[in-house]
Symmetry: C2
Subunit: 206 residues, 2 copies
Amino acid sequence: QVSLEVIKRLSSYLRDLKTLENNGVTVVSSGSLAELLGISSVQFRKDLSYFGPFGKKGVGYNVCTLTAKLTELLGAGDCMGFALAGAGKLGSAIIQYSSLQRFNIKIMAAFDSDRRKIGKKIDGLVVADAKDMETTVRTMGLKIGVICVPAKAAQQVAERMASAGIIAVLNFAPTEIKILKKVHVSNVDICVEIEALSYFVRQSAT
Amino acid sequence: QVSLEVIKRLSSYLRDLKTLENNGVTVVSSGSLAELLGISSVQFRKDLSYFGPFGKKGVGYNVCTLTAKLTELLGAGDCMGFALAGAGKLGSAIIQYSSLQRFNIKIMAAFDSDRRKIGKKIDGLVVADAKDMETTVRTMGLKIGVICVPAKAAQQVAERMASAGIIAVLNFAPTEIKILKKVHVSNVDICVEIEALSYFVRQSAT
Ligand SMILES: NC(=O)c1ccc[n+]([C@@H]2O[C@H](COP(=O)([O-])OP(=O)(O)OC[C@H]3O[C@@H](n4cnc5c(N)ncnc54)[C@H](O)[C@@H]3O)[C@@H](O)[C@H]2O)c1
Ligand SMILES: NC(=O)c1ccc[n+]([C@@H]2O[C@H](COP(=O)([O-])OP(=O)(O)OC[C@H]3O[C@@H](n4cnc5c(N)ncnc54)[C@H](O)[C@@H]3O)[C@@H](O)[C@H]2O)c1
């Protein structure tokens, strides 16, 4: 059973591998690849081992092959749609950012409960009424939801998404979402990222 | 040499431990703690082992003690300030979010190059002119910078932050920042998070 953490790491390995490919690199040792990725080569080989034998000991990895295998593995070849609730500052930034389409995910619908935001067009996407979320999500068969509403609205929004068929949620609201076990909830907290950096700042000061 | 990944995990363990504490839990086994944290108990014990012997085999961990030790370890008792460049949609959302002060990090200054944003007040913080960033960062002795500017401006903003004394950067712009080895650069990409969820959606469909 692969953890979300491993998948996230593989996802960013893929992004770095594509950069190597674009720079014309054809073969890379696990040592230099690990250095590029900022992880130990042990960690890297362990992550890949979940999915099959990759690379040749002593020779390294063929960048093209590894990129193709990771793309297939992550299903990064097909595009997957998602719904977003809360077209506020964070939500709007995400809508615009995803339209850059650097990855194979695509925002298919965005919802808000604020009259002034419903009907607003952000990078070609029209913000819909939060009342229509279940119907739209079900009709489109969307399986991923992104929550960018205030903390007090998050729990209910998550439940409504789940009832409409969503099975994976990315939550930004600073609250714990309690939902059926079959729904994957991933929480993103920028403060955790900044706090992690503060640890290193203290270490370098000593 | 502890990796940023371990520190980030410890940071979110701390947040979950505080929740347990608030719910009156006093002792917890590594098994149930790991389940709560969504990781393997092997991973959990390994992460803690970097910093000392914690808990008693067979008994579990004293929540209060573990929380206190992690707080001390992460320096989560003191507050660390940071600067933010790019008070746009994402930047404004982050300024407001950090003012919730759920963690021991505090935004001390925000900068923008847009006339219409300079002087704007967001949750008590006045957006300053990007021209004054180096001087202000140096005067305040800030060590952490958050980059929320467009991709084409990110590299230069990072260099200016580094020249002003910043040694850890959290970058949101979709571009690789090339900087001196002594400056820690952490990249956050919401699309990587969503892509990771799409992997699980595919798995559950098969
Ligand atoms: N995790 C992080 O790192 C992080 C960073 C920044 C913000 N946040 C959080 O993200 C959320 C959004 O932040 P923001 O600054 O964009 O706030 P915002 O107020 O600008 O946006 C929230 C939007 O949600 C809408 N909304 C409220 N209830 C709704 C509902 N039931 N259905 C649909 N839409 C609804 C509002 O009308 C508004 O447009 C907040 O919970 C904030 O704390 C998290
Ligand atoms: N990593 C992610 O997951 C993620 C998610 C959303 C947005 N983004 C990225 O974050 C950045 C900000 O997104 P946004 O939607 O808030 O954009 P935005 O256009 O709303 O905000 C950008 C702000 O930066 C300011 N700016 C431009 N050049 C500057 C400079 N040299 N110094 C100081 N300020 C400057 C602009 O005036 C503007 O206010 C973009 O690069 C975007 O691609 C990343």
